[in-house]
């Protein structure tokens, strides 16, 4: 530890700390442009000048490491004069167009100039002109004249993300930031450069000219689009959400967002947003619909009793709402039938759940079934961050296609779809067969042996087994698809001496929170509900923030279930798919419209504040629950509010005991005719998410992915094409493109793509390509 004095105050910091960070710890702000802790020192902008006693000249606080006994002054006439000089240089060619700049009011060039700069320039010569308002992709414009060349944006994309899409072009006063080959940036982390840019050079297109910082409101929130639940700050003006920014949490999170989270905030305002209540296909008033639904509830309870009423909860709800729904079901309706609408069958015991801190310490990270880049993008950045700290990081992808990518290189095991759990049980048996836990795990495996696409030797399998058992800090990211994986993960935890942490990459986004609110999320519940519905035992269903047809793995069964229920009521932001199956559809309030808590994939509870009023007739769930209780003449008191936080455990949900290891059955390999394809479902935040007009231009036109070999066989060229598919349960058509990571015989399709429902055919189903005419005749 090093002791030094900054502005007459003593502080002790670890060796290697930069003066700027030591000052920050004392609450002393040293101005910075180019420096960012995640990117490390560069020393390009010189604004952070400070005076160090016994040093002849001013030094840059961001590149000067602390030394024992150092005496630093961050203010004083010499320092202020130095900063004034730097600003004078920065402003020589600056257009001084702050009055029309979106950054005005929250710009570090403005702030520091106000603090240190001179009131007028001394430079009379004409200014150099550069590009203004040039789009670098669908979401971002650059004003090169305002750029201070701090290189944060360039370094973030190149060094931090590892997708080199920005560069410095030219020399001297003519240097500008530009995109590679002047092509639009297409990284899904592009929007972060807006937050990183300290001046008004990189600006958000959708937020353009929407507000000045002093007439808007900011609220702490979290991103609702995937289970990462990145911390955000939501900007609103006059009751409209107009911007989402990353919200760094010092020492814990850098505040990065992916473009889905940053720009997909307009789902509340798209044309499809439900603003009115609908009864039997007709718009009605809110009062009328509430009354009618109340009477349905009353009648159903009288005729069939509480257990004939079911509740289905989807990913849009907060923990508090889940809690209210459960209590309403318990206390007012008297039913235990509350299920969570899900796409995958797996469950992760809370005791296995790791945190993002585990990623920071990992020496081995295993992707199970899904590439985190697609499903939980910011987790990919966290893995990349770890890889930058520890280039020896082992990354292993295990799934039906190559899950690794060049930004975090790794080793890929490409298996037959759905065999990840069996493969791991097999692998562990190779290296520790005598262990009773592993023996238990492998009891039903029989003669299973994996087939690899792309050669893998027995040797490599054994090495993998040993890595899994012996690595010092193992983190597994699991897609939740194969329920038997739970036992493999439990076995690993049981066998290993060192940390074994699992992060569930599957949704719905807040499922862990629902669990905390007392709603069991296991898939069996959902299955039992569907079965009972089909048998005619459910007479009234409240589907809240859920869309069974979209989520449930078997679309035909979902249809049959809904069709068999006398009355189906949906509360949500949008119409559910096939709205004719619903008797009432009433508009709900969602993210940014209700205060609430969401639990992320770490099991961490985070608060999201409401910042706007729900539009149209939409109301929070609790309002509806209250009025239905009223219709039953029952009291439903929600005061005092439930507090999800356990004040001993902090923001992480407390762990519980782990279940027993069960055996993994031998996977059945379906017969494949020549030319047949196996469907593999995956979660993609871009393709499968909520509607957004802002994001529309970025959402891939070809969500399906196949191998080059299959594409050429099926006549799919560049950039992609439409493919008809026939499975046992029907036909769909899909827009597909080539992805070199996909092996032959596999078609990867995201869940929830409008118009190409994977669950019509089934995840893992064998399908054959048919002509599009055949599909349209279906």
């Amino acid at each position: 530890m090093i002791r030094l004095t900054i502005d007459d105050r003593e502080i002790t910091v670890p060796e290697g700390t930069m003066v700027v960070d030591a000052a920050q710890e004392l609450g002393i702000d040293v101005p910075i442009y180019c420096y960012h802790q995640a990117l490390g020192p560069l020393g390009a902008c010189r604004i952070c000048l400070v005076q160090v006693e016994k040093m002849p000249k001013l030094v840059t606080a961001c590149t000067t490491a602390v030394q024992e006994g150092m005496v630093v002054h961050t203010r004083g006439s010499a320092v202020d004069k130095g900063r004034q000089g730097v600003l004078e240089f920065l402003l020589i060619n600056h257009p001084l167009d702050c009055p029309v700049c979106d950054k005005g009011g929250e710009c570090f060039l403005q702030d520091y100039t106000f603090q240190y700069g001179s009131a007028a320039g001394r430079y009379d010569e004409p200014k150099i002109h550069k590009l203004k308002d040039a789009a670098i992709n669908e979401f971002i414009i650059i004003d090169q004249e305002r750029c201070v060349l701090c290189q944060r944006c360039v370094r973030f994309m190149g060094e931090y993300v590892g997708e080199e899409q920005l560069l410095l072009e030219g020399r001297g006063v003519e240097t500008v930031v530009s995109t590679v080959s002047h092509q639009p940036m297409d990284s899904q982390f592009s929007g972060n450069v807006i937050d990183l840019c300290p001046v008004g050079a990189l600006l958000s297109i959708p937020y353009r000219y929407k507000a000045r910082p002093w007439n808007l409101e900011r609220a702490e929130s979290v991103c609702p689009h995937c289970p990462v639940a990145c911390t955000t700050s939501v900007t609103s003006r006059e009751g409209h959400v107009i911007r989402v920014e990353g919200r760094p949490i010092p020492g814990h999170d850098w505040g990065w967002l992916c473009d889905r989270g940053r720009f997909g905030y307009d789902f509340g305002y798209v044309e499809d947003r439900l603003l009115n209540a609908w009864l039997d296909g007709e718009i009605t008033s809110a009062a009328e619909s509430t009354r009618t639904i109340g009477s349905w509830l009353n009648d159903t309870l009288e005729q069939h009793g509480g257990d004939s009423v079911a509740f289905l909860v989807g990913g849009q709800q907060t923990m508090e709402e889940a809690y209210q729904i459960r209590r309403f079901a318990d206390e007012v309706v008297g039913t235990s039938k509350v299920a969570v609408s899900r796409s995958v069958k797996g469950y992760l015991p809370l005791g296995l759940n790791g945190t993002f801190e585990d990623l920071d310490r990992a020496d081995t990270i295993v992707y199970l079934g899904q590439d985190p880049y697609d499903a939980v993008p910011v987790v990919h950045l966290k893995v990349r961050d770890r890889y930058r700290d520890n280039p020896g990081l082992k990354v292993i992808g295990i799934g039906a296609y190559d899950l690794t990518r060049s930004t975090v290189p790794g080793d890929a095991f490409v298996l037959e779809p759905g065999e990840e759990a069996a493969f791991l049980a097999y692998t562990l048996a190779k290296v520790a067969a005598s262990n009773p836990i592993i023996a238990r795990l492998g009891e039903e495996l029989g003669d299973f042996s994996p087939t690899f696409k792309g050669a893998k030797s027995e040797q490599e399998v054994e090495t993998l087994g040993r890595q899994l058992l012996e690595s010092e800090h193992l983190v597994l990211l699991w897609d939740g698809k194969d329920p038997h994986m739970e036992s493999v993960l439990l076995a690993l935890r049981g066998l290993r001496e060192d940390v074994t942490a699992v992060l569930p990459t599957f949704g719905p986004a807040n499922w862990r929170g629902f669990e905390r609110a007392g709603i069991a999320v296991d898939y069996d519940r959902l299955e039992a509900f569907v079965e009972e519905a089909i048998q005619g035992k459910i007479h009234l269903l409240f589907s809240i923030g859920a869309d069974l047809l979209r989520d449930y793995p078997d679309r035909e069964r979902a249809k049959a279930a809904l069709a068999a229920i006398d009355r189906v009521v949906s509360v949500g932001l949008f119409f559910p798919e096939q709205r004719e199956l619903y008797h009432a559809v009433i508009p709900g309030a969602g993210w940014s419209e209700v205060d609430g808590t969401y639990t992320n994939m770490e099991g961490r509870m985070q608060v999201a504040k409401a910042t706007v009023q729900p539009p149209g007739q939409s109301r929070p769930v609790r309002t509806y629950l209250g009025s239905w209780a009223h219709a039953l003449k029952k009291s439903f008191v929600l005061e005092p509010e439930w507090d999800p936080f356990d004040h001993n455990a902090g923001d992480l949900i407390a762990k519980d005991a782990l279940p027993e290891v069960q055996s993994v059955p031998k996977p059945a390999r379906p017969a494949m005719k020549d030319g047949a394809l196996r469907l593999v479902g995956t979660a993609l935040v871009m393709e499968g998410g909520m509607p957004s007009e802002i994001l529309q231009p970025r959402i891939p036109k070809y969500p399906g992915r196949i191998s080059l070999a299959d594409a050429s066989r099926l006549g799919i060229g560049e950039p992609g094409g439409e493919l008809g598919l026939r499975g046992q349960q029907g036909m769909i058509s899909v827009m597909v493109a080539v992805d070199e990571r996909i092996p032959q015989g596999v078609l990867v399709l995201p869940y929830g793509v409008v118009g190409s429902p994977l669950n019509q055919l089934g995840d893992g189903a064998v399908v054959e390509a048919v002509s599009l005419e055949e599909v349209s005749l279906r």
Partner: protein
Amino acid sequence: MKPEWELWAQEAKAEFPKANSALLPLLHRIQSQEHYLSEDTIRDVAVLLKLPVPYVESVASFYSLYYKNPVGKRIIHVCMGLSCALNGSDELMHHLEGKLGIQEGQTTPDGEVSLLEAECLAACNLAPVAQVNLRFVGPVTEDTADQLLTGEVKS
């Protein structure tokens, strides 16, 4: 990519311990063949030297003697540095612009002549200085200016 570039890349790499040091000579050699560095060429060079494309692009854009757009057979640089400016380089430039019917930074439509400005060429004693295909000419007077466009190049 031309087949010989691979060999040139090997040769350039052999001269330096690190690949990025070989970048400048390789770019020069390829430019002398191609007359300029297109975006495709920049990609090719990045592949040949296993360097990131933006790195090569940044370097190529940093040095003014790498041309990112097609240039004429005769490249005229007029020095705009202080000494030359005091000795009338502005008028010289305007004169040439008028003669050629193009602006500074442009190439005549027939692809013959490019007119470019240069910073101090370190030949202030010859101010105002021009270069024709990198050979110095100066001091350029009203009478000799037109020789820049037609005459044999002497230094």
